[in-house]
Symmetry: C3
Subunit: 267 residues, 3 copies
C-alpha cells in the first residue's frame, strides 16, 4: 500500500438503523485495526446499483492513493455472481461483480490508467463461515481489510478480465444542441445531468428546457440569484446541474433519474 495509514471507504444500501455497517467495521478492525474507515453512503436506494455506482464514482477520486473502497449493493448475494476486487489507477475496489464499478472503469480506461480485476475466490481471506445473505460482512469486508493491511490484490483470488459493466448515460448531439439526461438527484433537490461543462464551453447563448420550463444561460453559483429562482450551473464535478436557489429543483419539477434536459446552443 502507498499509505502508511490504511484508508477504507464504505458505500452500501444497508441503511443506518440495523447495525449492518457497524458489523462490517468490527470485522475490518479485527483484521486491520489501524484502518481509517469513512462512510460514503449507506442509504443508496435498496438494490439500486446505478445510484451506488454514481455515488462511489463521484467520491473515490478524492481519496489518497492506496485507499480501498468497499461498495456493496448486491441484489445477487448468495447466487453465482462473482465477488470482485479491482485496481484502477492507484486506488483499490471491492464489490459484487454487478456493474457497480462501471463509471470508474470507464474513466480509468479513458485516462489510460492501470486496470486489474480479481475474482475474490480465495476463502483464506473470507470469514470462516459464509452466510447466504450477508457477503458484505463475510467476504467483502474481510477481503478489503486484508488488502488494506497489505495483502497483495492478486492473493485475494483469480485474475479475470471481464468484469460486469453497464453502459452509462451519455448526452446526445442534436441539430440544435444536446439531449442531456438527469443522472443524480441529490438531497438538496439539485439535478445533475450527463452533460459536461466542456461540451458547451464558449457558447455565448444557451437555453435549457426541462419539464416544460426554460432556463436561459449559466449561473455562477446559487448565491448569484434570488431564492426560489430556477438556475443552471456547473456542478462540483464539472457537469451541468439544474437547481433552485435555497430550494429544491426536484420538488419544483418532479423529475427523476433518466429524465430529459433539452439544451439549445447558439454559438
Amino acid at each position: 500500500m502507498e499509505n502508511d495509514v490504511p484508508i477504507i471507504s464504505l458505500t452500501t444500501d444497508f441503511g443506518i438503523r440495523n447495525g449492518f455497517v457497524g458489523v462490517m467495521k468490527g470485522v475490518i478492525w479485527g483484521i486491520c485495526p489501524h484502518a481509517q474507515i469513512a462512510d460514503i453512503s449507506h442509504t443508496i436506494a435498496p438494490q439500486d446499483i446505478l445510484e451506488g455506482a454514481y455515488t462511489l464514482w463521484r467520491a473515490a477520486p478524492f481519496y489518497p492513493p492506496g485507499s480501498v473502497h468497499i461498495a456493496v449493493v448486491d441484489p445477487g448475494v448468495g447466487t453465482h455472481r462473482r465477488p470482485l476486487g479491482a485496481k484502477l489507477g492507484n486506488q483499490y475496489y471491492i464489490s459484487p461483480d454487478n456493474g457497480l464499478l462501471s463509471p470508474l472503469i470507464d474513466d480509468a480506461e479513458r485516462n489510460h490508467l492501470e486496470t486489474k480485476f480479481i475474482s475474490l475466490d480465495n476463502p483464506k481471506y473470507w470469514l470462516p463461515k459464509i452466510s447466504r445473505t450477508f457477503h458484505g460482512r463475510d467476504i467483502f469486508s474481510p477481503s478489503g481489510a486484508h488488502l488494506a493491511a497489505g495483502v497483495p490484490l492478486e492473493d485475494l483470488g483469480s485474475v479475470i478480465t471481464d468484469p460486469v459493466r453497464f453502459k452509462l448515460s451519455r448526452p446526445l448531439r442534436t441539430s440544435i444542441g444536446w439531449q442531456a439526461h438527469i443522472t443524480v438527484v441529490d438531497i438538496f433537490g439539485n439535478l445533475t445531468t450527463d452533460l459536461q461543462s466542456v461540451d458547451i464551453l464558449g457558447a455565448p447563448d444557451i437555453l435549457f428546457r426541462i419539464a416544460g420550463k426554460e432556463i436561459r444561460g449559466l449561473c455562477e453559483s446559487y448565491g448569484h440569484k434570488t431564492p426560489g429562482d430556477l438556475i443552471a450551473l456547473v456542478d462540483s464535478e464539472d457537469f451541468i446541474e439544474i437547481a433552485v436557489v435555497n430550494g429544491s429543483a426536484n420538488q419544483k419539477l418532479d423529475c427523476k433519474v433518466g429524465d430529459l434536459v433539452e439544451v439549445v446552443v447558439n454559438k
Copy 2:
C-alpha cells in the same frame, strides 16, 4: 485490553441530527484519543430497549476481543436505575442497567463464557459535572473510554450479580411444527424470526403461514427467485427470515415485531 488499538462501538436512540453522538465521541477522544469508534446504530426507535438489545446482540460478536460496546437506550436516565459495566466472554459492555444486554448475557451463559457485572458508581471515571438527562455523555462515554484506555473494569465501580434482564422471544413447539415470532424488521423490510435454522434442519417439507399467506419451502437466497416473490430463507445469523425478492415483506404483509409465524413441519 487484548488489542493494542482500542475499539469502541456505539448503539443509541439519539438520532443523527442533533449532535448527541458527536458529543460522545469528543468526550471519548478526550480520554482515549487513539480509540477507533464505530456507529452500530443511532436510530433505534426512541426508548425501545428491545430493538437496541437485538441490534447490539447481532453486531457485537463480530468485533475483535477486547472491544468496548457502549449502548444507550435509556428511558430511566436521571432516576435510580444503575449504570452497568459488563464483561461477557472477551468483550466489554457499558449501558444503563435496563435489560439492553439480555440476549448477550443469555448467550454468554449458554456458552459458559466468563460474565462479570459492575455498577458504574465510581465518579472518578465520569465527567466532572453530571446532568440529569444525558448520561450517555456524562457517565457512559467516559467510563467506556477509560475502560478502552486500559482501566480495569473492576475499577469503574462495585461488583453486582443481578443485572436487569428480560425474557427473550422463543419459538413454541406445536403438534404440527412451531409457532415462531418476528423479532426484527430491517430496512429492506425483511422479517427475522426467533426460529433457528437448526430447529427445522432436515425437514423435507416445510410450510410457513404469515399474515394469511403461505410460503412453501426454504429458498437459498434472494437471487434464486423472481423479484416480488415472497420467500423464507436462513438469515445471516442462522435464523429463519421472511422476505420479498427485491422488495419489502414488511410492506407486503404489514407485520410488526412479535407477530406470529406458523411453521408446519413434515419430517
Copy 3:
C-alpha cells in the same frame, strides 16, 4: 496542536445519502491521515445557519483542546462571502463566514477567552482546483486538515476582526417572570428554550405556559413522571426544556424554533 492525535469534527447540511461527507473525509485523510474524524450532524436543515450554529455550539465544548471543528452550512457558496478560520479558547473552527460561529464567539467573549479570526485566503491550503458549489470539499476540508496536521492558523490566510455574527435568542424579563423562546427541537421532540436554569434558581413556585398548556414546577428527569406527562426540566446544557415522558412534546404541542414559552415565577 495541543493533541498528539489530531481530532476533527464535521457539522453540515450535506445529508448522508449522496457521499458529500465521504468526499470530505477522503480529502482530509489525504492531508492528515492520522486524524480522528467525528460526525456531529449532516442533517442540519438545508441552508439553516441557525440550526447549524446551535448544534455545533452544544457539541464543541466537550471536545479536547486543539480539536478542529469544520462546519459547513453555506447558502453563499461561490459568492464573495469569506471562508473563515477561528481560534476560540483552545479550540479551532473552520466555516463559511456567515454567522455559524455566533454563539461560540459570544461565549468566548463572555468568558474572556482568546479569539482570533482568519480569512482562509491562502490557496496553498486549498485543493488545486476550486469548484463554485462545493467549498466544503475544496477549501474547508483541506484548510481544516492542514490545521489539524500542524499548520499554524495564521498561515491559512489573513487576520480579520469582523466575522459575521447574528444576535442570539435571549429570554425577556417580564413583570411576572420571563418570556422564553424555543431554540432547538430535538429528535425526541424535546423543546429546548433560551432560559437558563440559573435564571430561575431558587424560585419556590414556577409555572410554564406553552401552546395553551400549563406545566407546574420543574421535574428532575424523564423517569420521575408517568409516560405521556408534559414536563419542564433542566436539559444537559443547563437550559430549561419542555418534554413529554417517553413521548414527543413537539408532536403534542406542534411548536417550532422561536415560539414563546411564558414563565411565571413566584419567589
